[in-house]
Symmetry: C2
Subunit: 286 residues, 2 copies
Amino acid sequence: MLDRNTDILIVGLGLMGGSYARALTAAGYCVDAIDRDPEAIRYALAEGIIRAGATDADPALIGRADLVVFALYPHVFLSWLEAHQGLLKPGALLTDVTGVKGAVVKAVQAGLRSDVEFIAAHPMAGREVSGVQNSTPDIFRGANYIVVPTEKNTQSAIETCRTLGEVLGFARVSELTPEEHDEIIGFVSQLTHCIAVALMTCNDDQHLEEYTGDSFRDLTRIARINDEMWSELFLLNRDALLSQMDAFEAQLGRLRETIASGKRDEMRAMMRRSAERRAKFDKITK
Amino acid sequence: MLDRNTDILIVGLGLMGGSYARALTAAGYCVDAIDRDPEAIRYALAEGIIRAGATDADPALIGRADLVVFALYPHVFLSWLEAHQGLLKPGALLTDVTGVKGAVVKAVQAGLRSDVEFIAAHPMAGREVSGVQNSTPDIFRGANYIVVPTEKNTQSAIETCRTLGEVLGFARVSELTPEEHDEIIGFVSQLTHCIAVALMTCNDDQHLEEYTGDSFRDLTRIARINDEMWSELFLLNRDALLSQMDAFEAQLGRLRETIASGKRDEMRAMMRRSAERRAKFDKITK
């Protein structure tokens, strides 16, 4: 259970780890952090958003944590656990913020000590800037938090992880299997980033900004992409992402055909379906 | 020249016509309006954003206007002129807000009385709602206004149209030929709407809203599309739009190939180019 006596350790104090630290400290929890960047730790201590920090795998911080949140790139997360899981407190609960699950969750659970438990989660929030200096729990407001349990998880860990999402301030907490998660994230998150990158790089006009409206700005906000992180996430979810790209391209092709052949009624039917789906979407998400 | 003695008539008092009326009345101009919907005229009179209004082609209102702004669907604009241009005041200047130019400007200029002048313009602004009741000049703040002259236009008309864009409150006024306009608008505006519609309709999952993040919301804001207006605009700009769709699809295909074949360096190079272009874009537009 998550309560005020729970010692929380955040490994990876960037935008997401920092936002967790701010939200949890503000909610009255004791939060420690590990980050290889001394400036991130110094900043977080000065801001009062962590109790203690270290730039290496400090046995004291790791050994006292009841809940450890990993906010790392997937491959760094996996190698950190391999190297340092021996330092974890017996009974500790581990969770993460990783954007892909199939390639991560089972690898973690398979290699983990039997006296600790890992429950995967995906906070659907972010900003186009990075680092603890830009962190803010505001990104969780109105946002979705997905818990991604497997058959190896206990009901108690699932409950604690759901509570964590609520304490952080997410508007909605839900559950998906790793396969469901990766398929949906391939669509709502990865495909959208692919579209933004392709749109931002398919036209070399150097004066676009003089003629653009809000629609182009909206569709390319996420084109300011972190290439190191997203290339790793794309490749770890390759099959689901490719299948979502194919479904999108097929639908864009159908729309193209209505334009090329002047089938206005079909075009308008597709547009009406689009407007109806988006309207429902607005209502539910706001 | 545009000055406080200029009598302005707005034909079509919807979201855009209404926003023009509000901005011009607030700037001290005398603004009349014609709209077939009596409720739009009644509302605009009650709000004090027009001096007088009519629901048909009122000869008194048309005959006193020095500047007439057409805020109509393209085919309605063309047939209105055909039916009523005899009522225009000699020397009147006409302009519009139409989202395509090649198919409109030359048709208008070819059929127009020789003692009036039409100068095309495209205010790059809008909202996902319609009607004069939702109009506001706030949509012009920070936005782009494009004047689209042809060889038939006088320097004086071009200057007046540029001044109109400034009076309305646009952040930047520029000039394009009809062909340049349609190519660029095919990209920044029409292609983006096609992408949003295809994205919003390519996945039937009924629970997407529980798992989505801001990226999907951003990319589908404009999926609440007005099918009557946009299907007309798409078909009037068919060739330019199809060629922009093809360029986008080819680039998305290139990105797909880097994912499918695991070419991470190429993928990251495309992402870095995307991030660099978008960053420059932000700087210039803000």
